[in-house]
Amino acid sequence: MESLQKIGVPIAAILVFLVLWEALVRLNGWPDYVMASPSDLPQAYARFWELFLVGAWQTLWRTVAGLLLAVIVGVLIGMVMGFSRIMRDALYPLLVGFNAIPKATLVPVLALLFIGQHDFNTVMMAFLISFFPIAVSVGIGLSTLEPEYRDILRSLGASRVTIFRKIALPKTLPEFFGALKVSVTLAFIGTNLVEIVSPHGRGLGALFLSGQTNSNYPLMFAVLIALAVLGIALYYAVVFLERVFAGWAERETT
């Protein structure tokens, strides 16, 4: 019963959304080139399904690669900031400043630095846009660890590595996954940004661009929906990992 509700309610919500969308387009009598309606989409998918598969795969692997890089670098920076006050004071303004830069401005910079390296540039952008929340959350998680937690093991002569592995790391996992949920969305945006802006891009973003150049509006909307589906899948993959590794942090809500 409960699982039925868990799956049924979101599906019903999506159906309602599609019906409203269709109704909006029909009632206004909008033609295809103003706004496509859901009933136009199956056609677009049927015609271009191969392009969709290839594009989705390219978008997916580059997002995941960028995110993995962000996790590795973010955790390392977070550890450095969490354990050393001096490094925290030194790195924090740099990171905040970097994070404040609108990432769209980095597309041409990357494109010029690494000319023609489209895959590399895309992964780099996904990484650059998404490592910040991870670094900050890990850093804060480690630096706010109550001293007593450390002292129970430190008083037994445990090494710093042991304390990190047994206490600090698991204790910051909930914060880490909270940040990862933000980062996965950001990485996805970063990938698409490069795909759409680059002249000879690949992935779903490039498919969107070609829909635009050919004034194929149903295709553009079909890409948007595909992006949403992919984004949801990535997000819930993170939620799944969170359940597995930090499920203990979930409180029963009664």
């Binding site: 002292d151 129970i152 093991l153 008083s155 037994l156 002569g157 042991t162 204790k171």
Partner: protein, 263 residues
Amino acid sequence: MDNLIDIKGVRHAYRTKAGPLPVLDGLDIQVAESEFCAVVGPSGCGKSTLTRLVAGLMRPDEGEVWLHGKRVTSPRKTVGMAFQNPVLLEWRNILDNVILPLEIVAPSMPRRDRVARAEALLEMVGLSGFEGKRPSELSGGMRQRASLCRAIVHKPDVLIMDEPFGALDNFTREDLWQTMRDLRAKEPFTAVLITHDLRESVFLGDQVIVLSGRPARTQYVLDVTLPDDRTIDILYEREAGEMLHILRDQIKIAQGRGAAEAQ
């Protein structure tokens, strides 16, 4: 008899932005083997600092801390610690929380033996049946019981407790005093207990040490001449009443000195 804990002429000052803050100034404490030493003193006088010195988590500027005939200069595997906050690990169940010190101190001990040891302790404190529960599923008093089990699971020479019952309500606290007394009867250990509660210090302690206001020195040492198998009722009898009276007077003196210095 040799003293298990010997603190001689310890002085310590924290280095703060506003200059050095003297916290301990001429601290002398002797605790014999299996003795229970309760320490009371005004708030902020340096009691927690004392526990960190005994645990070897920090070194004093001057003076010496000896444990078991060895000078303490760094942490050693033979102490157990418990704090006001039970600091149980949320991602482990109660049994695995209790086992934690064994993973550090006795890495080669088979899991079966570790579990047996932890289960025996949990039974002594009345937590049988809660082994598989998460800390968040337990009441504050039960968490503190589990925390005590964790502090002694590796059979430490010294159990150091920093206001372990401070956050509990009165009835739960008295329950835990009795648990503590029963634990000691079955598992002899030497203990240093920091507390704000004079009744607690008299009920549990073999000696009660009163520290002066910051910077703390040993101001008064009270020998508790009550039988080992005390009950809570004894606190309402004349002998204990007199001791409590003395301690109260001493605390007043300690606070007076602290207040005078603050001006």
